[in-house]
């Protein structure tokens, strides 16, 4: 049981390049999230998904696209990277239980540097 994994761990891009970050979870969770965290700052929600085939915008969605073709995977794409997207990206997943226990499980993060 690996929990939440993220690929790659670190990446350097040039301005204008594109890339895809992969998040995978093996806990059969319905909800998945992408956050970004700039140095010394809190986490900001980029996009999220409440189930396979669904996605929705978070607080800072501009410049990013997402897809959830399989329940266990949530992809974050940068079509044309900008220096302002230099950040650490965290993926999280959670299940839904009516009795509570809305805990999110986070991945180790992907460090992205855009030059």
């Amino acid at each position: 049981n690996a929990g939440v994994t993220q690929t790659p761990k670190f990446r350097v891009l040039k301005t204008g390049q594109s890339m895809t970050l992969l998040c995978a979870q093996d806990m059969n969770h319905e909800y998945m999230y992408w956050y970004r965290q700039d140095p010394g700052m809190g986490l900001r929600l980029i996009h999220y998904s409440v189930g396979e085939g669904t996605t929705a915008k978070g607080e800072v969605p501009d410049g990013y696209n997402v897809s959830r073709l399989k329940k266990q995977n949530f992809l974050l794409g940068l079509e044309s990277a900008a220096p302002s997207q230099t950040s650490v990206y965290f993926c999280a997943s959670r299940t839904v239980r009516l009795a509570g226990d809305e805990t999110q499980y986070f991945g180790p993060g992907t460090r992205l540097l855009v030059l």
């Binding site: 939440v4 909800y31 999230y33 956050y35 809190g42 986490l43 900001r44 929600l45 999220y48 409440v50 929705a56 978070g58 607080e59 650490v88 965290f90 999280a92 959670r94 839904v96 239980r97 009516l98 509570g100 226990d101 809305e102 805990t103 999110q104 499980y105 986070f106 991945g107 180790p108 993060g109």
Partner: protein, 110 residues
């Protein structure tokens, strides 16, 4: 969405009890209160969760008053390894978006 407000930072010394309060005035009936801890270069990890009154586990206690408009995370006898950022999050079964606040940066000194 219930917005949360926490102190930006707190300092403590080893062995002391630390209480971090979170304000969430517009918490909904179905919302739970969850606290996360984040070390540098790591993702946040779950500490404790509660709905009302008091919850205690092996690492912390969570106090929630009757009106549920605030909550207090209590860390007994902190050590240097408790230096981290602590986030309060409010959400429930019907919450799709989970928005983090600014968090509280706790610095523990020897």
């Amino acid at each position: 969405l219930a917005k949360t407000t926490q102190p930006i930072s707190m300092d403590s010394y080893e062995g002391q009890e630390v209480n971090i309060t979170c304000s969430h005035n517009n918490i909904a009936t179905n919302d739970y209160i969850t606290w996360y801890q984040q070390f540098p270069s790591q993702g946040p990890r779950f500490i404790i969760q509660g709905y009302k009154t008091k919850v205690t586990n092996e690492v912390a206690s969570l106090f929630i008053p009757a009106d549920r408009k605030s909550s207090t995370l209590s860390l007994p006898r902190v050590s240097l390894s408790d230096t981290a950022v602590y986030y309060c999050l409010v959400g429930g079964p019907y919450t799709d978006k989970l928005i983090f606040g600014t968090g509280t940066r706790l610095q523990v000194f020897p």
